[in-house]
């Protein structure tokens, strides 16, 4: 078994003082092991909630979520999670943070060094999170999640707070890691360009409660050209679910 993720007939609601809030409705997902899937949608449509369900952090819902056939009941090392805010421990160094989930042992130091190399943080082992840039902190958080060799890597808008340039660099990094570690990746993002650039399939979530309104397969080769017409054709398909398209006036179209 190799990191296959399945969600069947999932409904999720939160209960608050103002009554129940339907967040997700009739979600069905099937992800083969080793795939790269993105979830895109407006903020508040339930993307984080869905990801937290896959992580086992959220357990009150209708339906089933499975990893390799087994119901997901609680967090475990099989499911790596990278939060939108990096959540590194400020009192630990970069190396200590990255090695935090690793069991004590002779090979721990070697594994940490390997991870630091993998995310390109060599030379920053002894730094504290407050001394890192946003991109570097996010890379450390990714390294920490990868340390225990999860079967599935859950990324909740990991590059959301980064500037456009850093974001593109980080996208390249995450692709490299994905290809090397052969891990299933579920990426939540509100950046359609990012989703199309990275994933095999983009799931579009919309509405309240959130539903999967479209599954867009991205059958482009890699590396992908963000400026190619195929790439933009796919982007446009996804855009349609969020923005009503403005028809160009007849006179200007060829």
């Amino acid at each position: 078994m190799n990191g296959q993720v399945a969600v069947e007939n999932l409904n999720k609601r939160f209960f608050s003082d103002s009554g129940p809030l339907e967040v997700l409705s009739q979600i069905n997902i099937n992800i083969s092991g080793g795939e790269f899937i993105s979830l895109v949608g407006h903020s508040g449509c339930g993307k984080s909630t869905l990801l937290r369900i896959l992580a086992g952090l959220e357990t009150e819902y209708e339906g089933v979520a499975r990893l390799d056939g087994q119901p997901i009941l609680k967090p475990s090392l099989e499911k790596g999670f990278v939060f939108q805010d990096h959540r590194l421990f400020p009192w630990l160094t970069v190396a200590e943070n990255i090695g935090y989930g690793l069991p004590k042992g002779r090979d721990k130091a070697a594994r940490v060094a390997e991870l630091i190399e993998l995310v390109g943080l060599t030379g920053f082992e002894k730094h504290r999170p407050s001394q890192l840039s946003g991109g570097m902190a996010q890379r450390a958080a990714i390294a920490r999640a990868l340390g225990t060799s999860p079967k599935v890597l859950l990324l909740d808008e990991p590059f959301g707070a980064l500037d456009a340039m850093t974001r593109i660099t980080m996208q390249e990094e995450i692709l490299k890691i994905w290809e090397k570690e052969k891990v299933t990746v579920v990426l939540v993002t509100h950046d359609i360009d990012e989703a199309v650039y990275l994933s095999n399939e983009v799931l579009v979530i919309a509405g309240r409660p959130g539903q999967i309104v479209s599954r867009v397969e991205v059958s482009l080769g890699r590396p992908r050209d963000r400026l190619s017409s195929d790439f933009n054709h796919i982007k446009r398909k996804i855009y349609r679910y969020f923005f009503t398209e403005v028809e160009p006036p007849f006179a200007f179209s060829i």
Partner: protein, 270 residues
């Protein structure tokens, strides 16, 4: 940049002009000492000119002479040593107990449920109010002083330990869950470091209280220590001794507080 420096920038609208290292330091020190120095000068002048009766308020010069004399005959250093020893003993006892109980209370809901009412009632009783019962139970020996200091230092440390641990960022708890961190390691590496800043400020308040309590306890029942010196000065109608003792209390309190503050910045480096 320290919080204070940032605030200063806010107020002036621009970063403070860069000062040369020595010049800046010297100026800061001068500003720091200006007010007490001016006060001393006025006080001394008024005393010399006869505006202040020496039996009400002796001149700084006279107090200084008394100070030098009591240092020369070792009486003042001995009193200081005695008081500081009591504070150190009582404070360490209180801090260790409060830390242990605070950790258990914060981590165990059941323990908290059973003990809450008791602590809620004991907390508002001022340490000084314990002095009569302390004398009744323990006499006027060392143990009654330690007891009062213990009461004074215990609650700030206890309260801050509990609230520091309780208010641990739940986001860090999620990280620990995702990484399947065992409970013991979780407490050691997430809970305690996360609560450390709040615990340290509790220790600081506790030490301050301990120092206040030792003086109070010694004033009522003791034959040595700074508080005793104070009371002794009053009984012998020696106001210079009384004020000398007060100044010593203030200066030593400031020094210990500075030391703990330095420990705080040394330990909390993130």
């Amino acid at each position: 940049m320290s919080g204070k420096a940032v605030l200063a920038t806010l107020k002036s609208g621009a970063p403070p002009a860069p000062l040369t290292f020595l010049g800046g330091r010297a100026r800061a020190l001068a500003q720091y000492l200006a007010l007490p120095a001016a006060g001393l000068a006025i006080w001394q002048t008024a005393s010399t000119l006869g505006y202040i009766a020496p039996y009400a308020l002796p001149s700084p010069w006279l107090i200084l002479r008394t100070g030098v004399e009591s240092v020369a005959d070792f009486s003042l250093p001995r009193d200081i040593l005695v008081s500081v020893g009591r504070v150190v003993g009582g404070f360490i006892l209180a801090a260790l107990t409060a830390l242990a109980l605070g950790i258990v209370t914060a981590l165990s809901t059941r323990f908290e449920t059973y003990t809450r009412c008791l602590f809620q009632v004991l907390k508002p009783i001022p340490p000084i109010a314990w002095i009569p019962i302390a004398i009744l139970w323990l006499g006027i020996g060392e143990s009654s002083k330690l007891f009062i200091i213990f009461i004074g230092a215990f609650f700030p440390v206890f309260i801050n330990t509990v609230s520091g641990i309780r208010h641990i960022d739940p986001r860090y708890v999620e990280v620990a869950r995702v990484l399947e961190i065992p409970y013991g390691k979780f407490v050691k590496t997430v809970v305690l470091p996360g609560a450390l800043p709040v615990i340290l400020s509790g220790l600081r308040i506790g030490l301050n209280n301990a120092w206040i309590c030792v003086v109070a306890a010694e004033m009522i029942a003791a034959t040595s220590g700074i508080g005793y010196l104070l009371m002794d000065g009053r009984q012998l109608a020696q106001p210079d001794k009384v004020i000398l003792a007060m100044l010593v209390v203030g200066v030593i309190g400031k020094i210990t507080d500075d030391l703990v503050a330095r420990l705080e910045t040394g330990l909390v480096r993130w």
